[in-house]
């Protein structure tokens, strides 16, 4: 059977609705379904990935040719990010297998599948309103997952996220409306061709609405108030979902729209500026955190700042470096959340203080945390090193020393607080012996991630050769318009 891009949306959605039914039959089936879905999707990625790198695949849904119908655009960038989503999703499933033991598990997996549907939808769609729908699918699943543990703080974090999130989608919907009222179309490629029909005033307004709307999902400063609470109150695998999948999809949406419609030097300058603010403020906030998951959340915001800076520079080199960094961050931050999840579980406390001595009691989990920490700081031989290096090189090439220094400052702060946590782990201290062990599925999940991180660190070429087509696809609006309208 021919694998078509629409299956990336259809299969997780189908699985999401199948899971509650399977729950009536057997819990094991419920647990296995997401894994099968991810295996099938990665099989699809293997088939489609090389094709998409050469030429974008445009899939017409429901038989209306673009610009009238909804079309899916599976270009190089989308292919790259969707492959990333499938990998991360698969490991998150593996990790959840033994981590989510609390009922109702079928609801957890259902929402998880919904979230995957929404995120791949955002990455794939070529239609502005369709993107809004997928954004909302993602957000509603994310709100519910945040409150999954049914505790006080979870509900509060979820409500906060919901408030901010609904504003984000309202703003985005308003921008869709303004664009539609001037151009009379919703297809990205078609709008990009007709963008001059919008008067400058309205165009500026639309830009602000899009930046605010999608900036909330992409954790751009100052719109990221939801992130630390949601990350730290949700179950650990959900933290990995947010950092690895949701945020990446939001950022892709924002950048796709900005690069297609509003690519002027001023806007790019503004992106760099916001990126720097996001990076520095988040890193400083992370420094002050006493809870490990809050620290990881702020670090995730900081990393997104770094990516936004690199995208704002907008050269070929910096864009591919930004994509590389997105890929690395998704894997490394998932690894950190996985390890932190079990460390918190073993020590029974979310405070960094209480992790003291766990490095000797739980050597394997702590080792994986240390690997993640070193990788995200950007030390060789891990993959984080190459993407950070590429970003720095591309910034230096663009000739802006001030930005270079600010990024380095951010990285130094980051190194300090990560190393502080790692040192805490390996400070010798008598810990009461506890018999709880990290289950094998969790260890395998972390092992896979660590192996990929190390492998990409040693042979960056495996990822690097795909970056150029992906970055080219993101930067080159003319190609997008041509392919999107055929």
């Amino acid at each position: 059977m021919e694998f078509s891009p629409v299956l990336y949306i259809a299969i997780p959605l189908f699985a999401a609705f199948l899971i509650p039914l399977l729950g009536k039959v057997s819990k094991t089936l419920v647990k296995l379904t997401p894994g099968i879905v991810f295996l099938y999707l990665s099989y699809g990625s293997i088939l489609l990935f090389p094709k998409a790198m050469e030429k974008p695949i445009v899939q017409v849904v429901a038989g209306f040719k673009p610009p009238f119908g909804i079309s899916l655009y599976y270009g190089a960038t989308a292919a790259f990010l969707i492959t990333m989503v499938t990998i991360v999703g698969f490991v998150i499933w593996l990790y959840s297998y033994k981590f989510i033991i609390r009922e109702p598990i079928e609801k957890y997996y259902m929402l998880f599948m919904m979230l995957i549907t929404g995120s791949t939808g955002i990455l794939l769609t070529g239609d502005m309103f369709n993107m809004f729908v997928f954004l909302e699918i993602t957000s509603i699943a994310a709100y519910s997952l945040t409150a999954f543990l049914r505790d006080k703080d979870g509900a509060e974090a979820a409500f906060k996220y919901l408030l901010i999130g609904s504003f984000s989608s309202t703003f985005y919907l308003l921008s869709v409306m303004i664009i539609y009222s001037y151009t009379g179309t919703l297809n990205f490629a078609d709008i990009a061709g007709k963008i001059d029909l919008i008067p400058p005033m309205a165009k500026g307004f639309v830009l602000v609405l899009v930046l605010v709307g999608m900036g909330i999902e992409a954790e751009m400063f100052p719109l990221n108030g939801w992130a630390p609470d949601a990350y730290s109150q949700a179950p650990s695998p959900v933290g990995a979902v947010f950092g690895g999948i949701v945020v990446k999809a939001g950022l892709y949406a924002m950048i796709r729209i900005v690069f297609l419609f509003f690519k002027t030097p001023e806007v790019m300058q503004f992106l760099i500026f916001m990126g720097i603010l996001t990076l520095l403020i988040a890193e400083m906030a992370a420094m002050r955190q006493h809870q490990i998951k809050r620290m990881l959340a702020f670090s995730s915001i900081g990393q997104m700042g770094l990516v936004i800076i690199a995208l704002g520079i907008g050269t070929m080199g910096s864009t591919s470096a930004a994509l590389f960094q997105m890929f690395n961050h998704a894997l490394i931050k998932s690894l950190l959340f996985f390890a932190a999840g079990y460390l918190v579980f073993h020590s029974g406390s979310k405070q960094i203080e209480d992790l003291e001595g766990l490095g000797y009691d739980k050597p394997v989990t702590s080792f994986f945390f240390a690997v993640g920490a070193l990788a995200i700081i950007g030390l060789p031989p891990f993959s984080g090193f190459w993407s950070k290096l590429l970003i720095l090189v591309s910034v230096a090439k663009a000739g802006d020393i001030a930005i270079l220094l600010l990024i380095l400052t951010g990285s130094v702060i980051e190194a300090i607080y990560y190393l502080r946590a790692v040192v805490k782990l390996y400070t010798r201290k008598e810990v009461p012996d506890n018999v709880r062990r990290t289950p094998i599925s969790g260890l395998v999940a972390m092992g896979i991630l660590a192996a990929i991180i190390l492998y990409v660190g040693l042979y960056p070429g495996v990822i690097e050769k795909w970056l150029a087509p992906a970055a080219n696809n993101l930067l080159n609006a003319a190609d997008y318009i041509k392919a999107g309208l055929f």
Binding site: F129, F132, V133, E136, S139, I140, Y143, S144, A147, R150, D151, K152, D153, A155, E156, A157, A158, F159, K160, L162, L163, S166, F167, S169, T170, L173, L174, V176, M177, Y180, S181, L186, G225, P228, D229, Q233
Partner: protein, 113 residues
């Protein structure tokens, strides 16, 4: 024009409620007022005076006598999404009330920003 003003003032009223009210339920009501405002605004964009639905089986109907059907289809979707969001929000409010026995947002706020 009147439609635009009405819709925009609905959005503003909703935002005012979300930003200033301390009661969780009032905040949720505010959110759904914002939703309605955006939906109305969207509908007004496609509105044509004295026009009717675009039914192609009526031969006397010409294109300038039709309203734009696209915004209506979109708004239908947006209404459903708004309903889902409101439902989730109300569910969370119930859970917050169970834990805290209050709906006042100042007394609930435990997580720092």
């Amino acid at each position: 024009m009147l439609y635009y003003i009405g819709a925009i003032s609905l959005i503003l009223i909703g935002m005012y409620a979300v930003l200033t009210k301390k009661n969780l339920l009032k905040i949720v009501v505010g959110l759904s007022i914002v939703d309605s405002g955006v939906n109305l605004l969207f509908i007004s964009v496609g509105y044509v005076k004295d026009a009717t639905a675009p039914i192609f089986s009526m031969p006397s109907l010409t294109a300038d006598k039709m309203v734009d059907p696209v915004p209506q289809a979109l708004v239908l979707t947006a209404i459903v999404i708004g309903l889902a969001t409101t439902a989730v929000a109300l569910g969370l409010v119930i859970r917050l009330y169970d834990h805290h026995k209050t709906l006042n947002i100042n007394k609930i706020r435990q997580l720092k920003w």
